[in-house]
């Protein structure tokens, strides 16, 4: 196998030749991807396409079989701690402790990321107020609804003000009002200079929020660009849904395991 090209130090996230297999199944195949600083990038793909596996490798939760990962110029494979310091990962199932209150949870996460206590306290208050959780700060997470859990986890992901925020299906199962709150907060973060990568099955979210969209299928990136670029590539009058279905038709026929 050829050595992967060097990571792009100017990119918020730069993947070069990223590869991961689970036994016989190749989940990610020599993936090259650049996400620019300050953009909201939507990663789309059918179930089992390799989206979550890719993001889990970037977050340092899975070891890549090969290739390189650069986060704002930090080599995430050589210096995972340095990379983790500036990233946050929010999976589709919120990572919470049922028996901790929302406030205690944020205190714990801030401690893990080494945020100074005074700064962390101010940020926690700001985030909880912004997400309408302030009234619930002293309640244990076990009693939270799905939406409240997702918001508490999001507050945890943002408490160290990551430069790169990765979200896996962040809006799944949320009601319209909470989904709107989350979307507003993410867009505000992007305006403030953060970079966000999210995976979603809700194409409307990608259409409305993303600066650029990447479509991944069978572990490889098959298309990338702005919404307009993708539509233009597929043909006049095509919606993102049409583009997506056209590009992923092969993968859906072979139905890879999730």
């Amino acid at each position: 196998m050829n050595a992967p090209a060097a990571i792009n130090p100017a990119a918020a996230l730069s993947l070069r030749g990223l590869t991961k297999s689970f036994g016989e199944k190749r989940a990610v195949r020599s993936l090259d991807l650049d996400v620019r600083a300050g953009e909201l990038y939507a990663l789309l793909g059918p179930n089992g396409a390799g989206k979550t596996t890719t993001l889990r490798m970037v977050a340092g939760l899975l070891k890549a079989d090969g290739g390189g990962i650069g986060i704002f110029g930090v080599d995430a494979i050589a210096d995972p701690k340095g990379a983790k310091r500036i990233t946050a990962w929010l999976p589709d199932e919120p990572m919470l402790y049922d028996k901790l209150t929302a406030w205690e949870y944020l205190e714990f996460v801030a401690g893990l990321w080494g945020v100074p206590p005074k700064v962390a306290k101010a940020r926690a208050q700001e985030l909880l107020e912004l997400l309408d959780l302030w009234q619930h700060k002293d309640e244990r997470c076990e009693g939270f609804s799905r939406g409240m859990k997702q918001k508490a986890a999001l507050a945890g992901a943002l408490i160290h003000e990551p430069k790169l925020l990765m979200l896996d299906e962040p809006l799944t199962g949320l009601d319209a009002a909470i989904a709107r709150q989350v979307k507003d907060l993410l867009q505000q973060r992007v305006r403030d200079g953060a970079t966000i990568i999210l995976t979603t099955h809700i194409l409307e979210v990608a259409e409305r929020m993303a600066h650029r969209i990447g479509i991944i299928t069978d572990g490889a990136l098959v298309a990338e660009g702005t919404l307009g670029e993708l539509q233009a590539r597929a043909g006049a009058g095509m919606s993102l849904e049409d583009v997506f279905l056209q590009l992923t038709a092969g993968a859906r026929q072979s139905e890879p395991a999730a």
Partner: protein, 507 residues
């Protein structure tokens, strides 16, 4: 629709009983059968021995015998009550299927009545199985009068279940649903430990005091001026084969159970919403937020201690282990006052304190390491895995050492070096047991731990071996044989090194 038909009352009761006795089966079918056969043999063997002794006597209904029988029945009733209280709170609060059942076409009253019956069957079956060997043996030997033990015990189970249901309701009404779960676990632990404390109570007294106490109790029993036909002796007479008393006893017990079950069903049907809404611990809203405290290690330790302190099942287990330490503590403090211990006893004490500390540390590390609800969060943090493990190890071992220090201080009052060796041994044993847990336990979600409440075999065996070796070393050192203590210490270190080499690799 008949009672037995699909969706009928008995169908629901069958479901309850199946759930109550469904346990995790790791072993192969053959091994399970062999284990059951062995258990059956033990129950039957002990039952046969007891029946051989009992069948030589005709049950006598004199006051001293009735007093002794009443004391025994009260003892068993206390155990049953603890069991019933835990089973009742478990059935209502922790099984988590009430929303499904109450949304079914069954009336809420039926659901709760069946649940109460399920608790009674669960409690009764446990004790009926325990006395089944005795019962069968008595029948084989033709000691018919003693067979009253069977139905009388079922009556006692019904009565205890009724008491457990009442207690659950009382706790629910006074301290609320959440605290009821904690209280039930703690009460259950105390009641369970009472067997152990009962058998160990003689050690709380000096030898001369023991004889005095036994004589005093015996004389007091002879002096009791209660007629044999008193209502107080009804259960004892029922157990001893008085047919009329047996009928009255079982009828009264069944009646009390029926009243309790009825009340329980009514009460919890009305409160179903409160039970189902059991979740957030709501505190008075305060605009002022508590200050954050930082630091990676401190954050991990604080989080683990919070989670431990909010886990009623774990707390009751720890409480049990601490209760088991009580006789030891009594012996140490009584003997330190008497100046009555020899070097061998120092060794036993020191070794026991080291072993109990390691066992407690193993319980806590199992929770801190394995029951990690957000492993991805911890892995995604910019912190070395070893730093996380160190935090979890300290969270598990520190409270244990605080307790071990008390025991070691007591021993140190009698013999300073024994105290020093004991705290050293307890510290080493606790950290070793903790390390084995860190190295060999698989992480999992805390909520799953009620269903699979056992750590890995490697961790269990490793902890047991290392604990025994360190306890041996501590015992030898505390009894003045420090040179000999090197042998078990080297063995413990060797096992620890081997376990460290074969530690679980991160994914």
């Amino acid at each position: 629709m008949t009672l037995r038909s699909f969706g009928g009352f008995l169908f629901l009761l069958g479901h309850e009983i199946r759930l109550a006795f469904r346990t995790r089966h790791d072993a192969q079918r053959g091994a399970r059968l062999a284990m059951l056969a062995f258990l059956g043999l033990v129950i039957f063997g002990i039952g046969w021995l007891a029946a051989s002794a009992l069948s030589k006597f005709e049950p006598s209904l004199t006051p001293p015998v009735l007093i002794a029988a009443t004391a025994g029945i009260a003892f068993v009733a206390t155990l049953m009550l603890g069991h019933a209280l835990i089973a009742a709170t478990d059935a209502v609060y922790t099984r988590g299927d009430l929303d499904l059942l109450l949304s079914s076409p069954f009336s809420p009253w039926t659901v709760m009545t069946v649940r109460a019956l399920g608790v009674a069957v669960q409690v009764a079956t446990t004790y009926v199985v325990m006395i089944s060997g005795l019962f069968v043996s008595l029948a084989i030997m033709g000691a018919w009068k003693w067979l009253a033990i069977g139905p009388a015990l079922i009556g006692l189970a019904l009565l205890a279940t009724g008491g457990g249901l009442f207690a659950a309701m009382l706790l629910f009404a006074t301290i609320g649903p959440r605290a009821t779960r904690v209280a039930a676990q703690v009460i259950g632990a105390f009641v369970g430990a009472s067997i152990f404390l009962g058998f160990q109570s003689q050690h709380f007294l000096r030898r001369d005091e023991r004889a005095d106490a036994a004589n005093a109790i015996f004389e007091r029993a002879l002096d009791v001026d209660i007629p044999a036909d008193s209502l107080l002796f009804l259960p004892a007479r029922a157990f001893l084969g008085d047919t009329q008393a047996l009928l009255a006893w079982t009828f009264a017990a069944a009646l009390l159970f029926a009243v309790a079950a009825y009340w329980f069903s009514r009460r919890f049907t009305a409160d179903a919403a409160a039970i189902l809404a059991l979740g957030p611990k709501r505190r008075a809203f305060s605009a002022r937020a508590r200050a954050f405290r930082g630091g990676v290690m401190a954050s991990i330790v604080r989080k683990e201690w919070r989670l431990i302190s909010r886990d009623p099942v774990l707390l009751s287990q720890i409480l049990l282990q601490l209760i088991y330490m009580l006789p030891l503590v009594f012996i140490i403090f009584r003997s330190s006052g008497d100046g009555g211990l020899n070097a061998g006893m120092y060794g036993l004490m020191g070794g026991a304190i080291a072993a109990i500390s390691a066992s407690l540390a193993a319980s806590l590390i199992w929770i801190t390491v394995s029951a990690e609800d957000a492993p991805d969060l911890v892995t995604a943090a910019p912190v070395d895995r070893r730093a996380i493990e160190r935090g979890k190890l300290i969270a598990a071992v520190a409270p244990v050492l605080a307790l071990a220090a008390l025991g070691a201080a007591g021993l140190g009052r009698i013999d300073t070096m024994a105290g020093v060796w004991t705290i050293l041994g307890a510290t080493t044993a606790s950290f070793s047991a903790g390390l084995v847990g860190v190295w060999h336990q698989e992480p999992g979600a805390r909520k799953d731990f009620r269903r699979r409440p056992r750590p890995s075999w490697t961790a269990q065996l490793g902890q047991a071996f290392v604990t025994m070796s360190w306890a041996g070393a501590t015992g030898l050192a505390a009894s003045g044989l420090a040179a000999l203590a090197i042998i078990p210490a080297v063995i413990a270190l060797g096992v620890l090194l081997a376990l460290g080499e074969s530690r679980r690799k991160p994914a």
